[in-house]
Amino acid sequence: MSTVITRVKQRQIAQLIAKGKRLDGRGLTDYREIKVEQGIIERAEGSARVCLGKTEVMVGTKIEIGEPFPDTPDEGVLTVNAELVPLASPTFEPGPPDENSIELARIVDRGIRESKAIDMGKLCIEPGKKVFVIFVDVYVLNHDGNLIDASALAAMAALLNTKMPKYEVEEGEIKIRPGYTQIPIRRHPVTVTFAKINEKLVVDPWLDEEQVMDARLSIAFDDDGNICAMQKGGSGYFTQKQVFEAVTIGREKADEIRKKLGW
């Protein structure tokens, strides 16, 4: 997933960060501008587009009636998939999902699932037989770094916008009624990603910073500031101190974002 970045720029980014500055003028813990639009695809049960600076991610949700997993017979099913669409970056190629898109989908999935953001019990129609299945499809439209945070936000925004059909069970048969209800959302997880460059942590890395970073750490926080998912990436390492520092900063950032979006 790498494009070419000149040595001069690499060095410039790293040296600036050592001084606590960033090439695009942000502070080390500043996010780029976040824009969220909901309900942009009428055919989807829920949808959202999130812009994080120039990074742009769209998420559409679809709801179907299907079978529950045998170990959770009275809960609905959540499926997250991510597509790194070739139009989003010169480095994305068409074809089956590669490890990067699978990792992205699984990080987004874990944030939503582990925070228990959706009340899955309320998505059960008939225990063991029929439940609502929510498909969350992450569609990356423009890659300018930090796809994880943008995708996690877009997925949550789309879920908050998702409606499910009203139904009634009559003599074992499901009758779909006119009208829709909101899906039951209990929590609003927010994922904060750090890049480690020159032994310093920066929040929300853009593409050029991702090319220079040694390692990446993404942390999802729920509404109470608890940690609900975490993933280290990249071929570098973190010290214990850096990890705990990331938790402290990330917690504040997640709160900030939640307040800004009114979640």
Binding site: P97, E103, E114, I227, C228, M230, K232, V243
Partner: protein, 244 residues
């Protein structure tokens, strides 16, 4: 399946298999378990049984994937169909693809990749039986296999998970605890450099509990590291009697 009927920790503070919260499962490590591989290791941790093999540095195919300034580390984490209760399809699942990636990224910082440009080092991991914490045991074994293959390394990598079950932070979760517990924090460490090369988490933890879990996992890693070193030494010290 039993659902939350059993308590995972009893009144005496002991776990289902009688362990204390900060106790590891029994571990057996063997270096050089396979003769064809350039390096290999076998690990048993609880009921986990895992083989790791290293081939390389060797020529890389397809050639266009080669890098001019360093070797390409490739890693495949795979579970045998019979390794779990319900047969697992042998095709790589999304979980296995993700784990292959994070395991590779956990091992990469330990290797002098720049010593072997235009080549590949392949790490193959086969989980023969799974019992929770397979990614960690896999890393512990794979790092030994790399050392056994003579790949120049900055440090060994050792991994161990900590987590939370029944409101207690515990070390080295086994399958039942992993499934019914509230949180799981797998962590890989380069013990001499004291840096973390793999860190994941799922579940719910307060920042304080998380800090406790990380510290506990690091303690566990250090204990396993002693066994890792011992296993590596054992291979080269032992002189096998060769029968005619």
């Amino acid at each position: 399946m039993s659902q939350k009927t059993e308590k995972l920790i009893d009144k005496k503070g002991l776990r289902l298999d009688g362990r204390k919260p900060d106790e590891l499962r029994p571990i057996k490590i063997e270096v050089g378990a396979l003769s064809n591989a350039d390096g290999s290791a076998y690990i048993e941790q609880g009921k986990n049984k895992i083989l790791a093999a290293v081939y390389g540095p060797r020529e890389l195919h397809p050639k266009h994937m080669a890098l001019p300034d360093r070797t390409v580390l490739r890693c495949r984490y795979h579970m045998a169909p019979f390794s779990v209760q319900e047969r697992k399809s042998p095709a790589p699942s999304r979980r296995e693809i993700e784990l292959s990636k994070v395991i590779r990224e956990a091992l990469e910082p330990s290797i002098f990749l720049e010593y072997y440009p235009r080549t590949a080092i392949d790490v193959f991991i086969e989980v023969l039986q799974a019992d929770g914490g397979t990614r960690c045991a896999s890393i512990t074994a794979a790092s030994l296999a790399l050392a056994d293959a003579g790949v120049p390394m900055r440090d060994l990598v050792v991994a161990c998970a900590a987590g939370k079950v029944d409101d207690t932070v515990v070390l080295d979760l086994m399958d039942e605890e992993d499934k019914a517990g509230t949180a799981d924090v797998p962590l890989a460490l380069m013990p001499n450099l004291n840096v973390i090369t793999l860190l994941q988490m799922d579940g719910i933890l307060t920042p304080e509990e998380f800090e406790k879990a990380v510290n506990l996992a690091i303690e566990g890693c250090k204990k396993i590291y002693a066994m890792q070193k011992e296993a590596l030494r054992a291979k080269y010290v032992s002189v096998k009697e060769v029968e005619e």
